[in-house]
Symmetry: D2
Subunit: 219 residues, 4 copies
Amino acid sequence: MSLFERLKADNLDDWQAYTRHSFVKQLATGELPEHAFRTYLQQDYLFLIHFSRAYALAVYKSPRLSDMRNALEGLKAIMDVEMDLHVELCAGWGISRDELETLPEASETMAYTRFVLETGLRGDLLDLQVALAPCILGYGEIARENALAKPAGPAADAYRRWLDEYGGNDYQSVAQDFSSWTDQTAEIYMTEARFAALSEIFNQASRLEADFWQMGLKA
Amino acid sequence: MSLFERLKADNLDDWQAYTRHSFVKQLATGELPEHAFRTYLQQDYLFLIHFSRAYALAVYKSPRLSDMRNALEGLKAIMDVEMDLHVELCAGWGISRDELETLPEASETMAYTRFVLETGLRGDLLDLQVALAPCILGYGEIARENALAKPAGPAADAYRRWLDEYGGNDYQSVAQDFSSWTDQTAEIYMTEARFAALSEIFNQASRLEADFWQMGLKA
Amino acid sequence: MSLFERLKADNLDDWQAYTRHSFVKQLATGELPEHAFRTYLQQDYLFLIHFSRAYALAVYKSPRLSDMRNALEGLKAIMDVEMDLHVELCAGWGISRDELETLPEASETMAYTRFVLETGLRGDLLDLQVALAPCILGYGEIARENALAKPAGPAADAYRRWLDEYGGNDYQSVAQDFSSWTDQTAEIYMTEARFAALSEIFNQASRLEADFWQMGLKA
Amino acid sequence: MSLFERLKADNLDDWQAYTRHSFVKQLATGELPEHAFRTYLQQDYLFLIHFSRAYALAVYKSPRLSDMRNALEGLKAIMDVEMDLHVELCAGWGISRDELETLPEASETMAYTRFVLETGLRGDLLDLQVALAPCILGYGEIARENALAKPAGPAADAYRRWLDEYGGNDYQSVAQDFSSWTDQTAEIYMTEARFAALSEIFNQASRLEADFWQMGLKA
C-alpha cells in the first residue's frame, strides 16, 4: 500500500468532498457554468506559478541528488510546458496572458498555495510531498473516475479536453512517478509516530483543494 | 507619513472592508451572536500559535541585532502572556485548553497565517512586517474607532473586554512600536519601485483578515 | 542510549578531535596564549548572534507547541542572559561592546553558524537539533572532562571561569534538557534509514567546531 | 556602473586576494601542482550540487515570473549540463562519479555554499544574487584576466581547458546576463542605505572563495 493510499483511507470523507465535489460532477456532465470554469482556469494560472515555486523549494530541500533531479523534472514540466499550455487554453476562452498576469489572486488560491509552500519550509521534503499530493494525485484520480464521462452543453469540448489532459498517459505517469517518489522519501523519513501529522497535512490540503473548486462554483 | 498610513491610503476599500466588517460592527453594538464570537476566539488561538512562529521567523530574518531584539519582545509577548490570557478568556466561555489544542484549523485561519509566514520566507523582513501589519495595526485601529461603543445584549461584557484589551495603552503602544519598527526597516529596504509589491502584500493580508471575520459570522 | 551517545559513538575520531583539541587542552593547563582566547571570545560573540537565530528558527520549525516552548527558552537564555554575560566577560579583557559588534566575522565563524542554520532550513527540527548538538553538548562534555583541571599562568582565572561556567549545574542541565528534547523529536522523526544522514550532519558540525578552536589557536 | 562594479570597487583588496590568488596565478603559469587542481575539482563537484540548490532557492524567492525564468535557466545550466561536464572532466583525472558522490565535503566547501544559501534564505533575492556574484562573475573575470596565459608543465592542457571554459563566449554571456539580472533586481530593491550590508555580503563571499582556492593549494 502506497503512502498515498494510506493517507486517502485515513481521510476518506474529506478526500471525496474534494475529488467528488459538485464542480467536478458538473464538469463531467457538462452542467458546469462556463464562467465557473473560466474563473477556475484563471486562478489556476496563478496557482501554477506558486506550484512552480513549490517544486523549486523541493529541489532546494532535497536530501539526495536523485531527489533534486526528480523535483527539477517537475519544475521544468510546469514552467517550460504546462504554463504555456495553460496560456493557450485561456486564449481559447478569450483570456489574454496580460489579463492572467495581472489578475487579483483569490483567497482560495492564496490559501492552498501558501499552505503547501509553508508546510514545505517548516518541515522536510516528505511534508512538502504530502502537501502536494492532493493536487497532483487528486487530479489524476478525478480524471480516471470520470474517464467515461460525456459532458454535454456549450462547454462540452473544453471539459472533455480537461478530463483528457489529466486522464492521458502523460499526466497519469507523472502522477504515478510522484507517488513512487514520495514512497521513496517515506522509506527513509516516515515513522508510525509521524503518520498522524502527515495525515493532518493531507487532510488540510484536501480541504483547501475543495475550497478551490468552491471558489469556481461561487463565481 | 508612516509606511502604514501610506499602505492604508493605497488600499482604502479593502482596509475598511476589514476594519469595518459586519463582525466588528456587530461586536460594537453587541448584536454579534455569541457562537460567532466563540468560533472566532477558538480559531484565534490557533492563529496565535502561527503568529508566534511568524515573530520567531522575524528574529531569524532580522538584519540587525536591534531588529532581533524587537522581534523577540513580540514573540515573548505572545507566547509568554497573550496565549495564556487567551486560554483564560476561552475558559470563561467554557472552552478548555485541550479543546483549543485539538481544534481543526479553519481554512480562513490557514489562509492568513500561512500567507504571512510564506511572504516572510520568500522576501525580507520588510515583506514580513507588511504582511503582519493588518493584524497588529488593524486591531489597534478597530479598538480606537470603537472606543466609545457600548455593546448591549448577553455577551456585552465579553465584547467590551475585547475592545478594552486592544484599545488599552498596552496594546496601543505595542501597535505604535510595531509601526515605528516597520518604518525603521523601510528606511533601509524601501524604494519607490518596491511600493507596489508591498502594497499588494498589504492588500492580500487585509482581505484575508476580512475573511477571518467572515469565518466567525458564517459559523 | 540517547541519540547523542549514538552519534558520538559513530563519529568518535572527529568528536575527540573537537572536544580534545589543543585549544581545549591548553586552556585546561593554562598554556593557551591569551590572544588565542581573546580571539575566540570575540568570535564567540558573533557566534551567539547566529546561534540565537538558530533557536528562533527552531521555534519557527517546531512541529508542536511544546517544541516551540523549548526552543523559546533556549532563545531567551542566549539573547536575554548569555550575550550580556559575554559582553561583561569581554569587557574584562578590554573588548568593548562596540568593538564586538563591528568585528569582521572569521571564516570559521561563518562556516559553522551558516551550516547549522542552512541544515535546519533544508531539513526538519531533528536535523537542526543534530547540527546544534556538537556545540551545546560538546561544551558540556569538555567542561566535565576538565572539571579537575587547574589552569596555571597569567590567564588562569579566566580559563577557570570558562570551565566553571560550562561545568556548572546551570549549563549542565541546559545541555541535559537539550539532549532529552532531541530524543523526543527523534522518537517521532528518526528512522534507522535516516541515521546515516544525521550522523553526517553531526560529523560535519563537529569538524566545523574543531575549526573554530583552530581559528583561536592560529590567531 | 553596474552593482557588481560598485561592489568590487568597495572591496578591492579582498576581491583581488580572491581573483589573483596564488592558486589562480599558478594555474595560469602551469606551476599549480596537479593534486591541488584535482582536490579543487573534486570539491567543486560538491560545490555545484549546493550551487544548484542556490539557484532553486532563487526560483522560490523570485518576486516576478521573469525572475523565476532567469533562475530556472541557471538551475538547468548547472544540473542538466555543467555537472555532467564536470563528471567527464573528473573522469579524465581518473576520478569516478561514485568517488565524487561519496567524497567528504571540505570545510571550505561547506563554508562558502552554506553562506550563500543561508544569506538567500535570510534576506531577499538581491541578497542571494550578491552572495552568488563572487563565484559567477569572479570566474568570468579570472578567465578574462588570464586569456593570454600559456600554462606549461604536465597539466598544461587541463589548465588551458579550464581557462577556455570560463573565458569562452558561453560562460562570458552567462556571467553578463547574471550581472544584468542582478542590476534589474537592484533597480527595485536597492537603496543607498542598504549598500553597506550588500557590500558586506559581497566581502564575505569573496573571502570564502579565496579560502576555497587555498583549500586546493594546501592539499
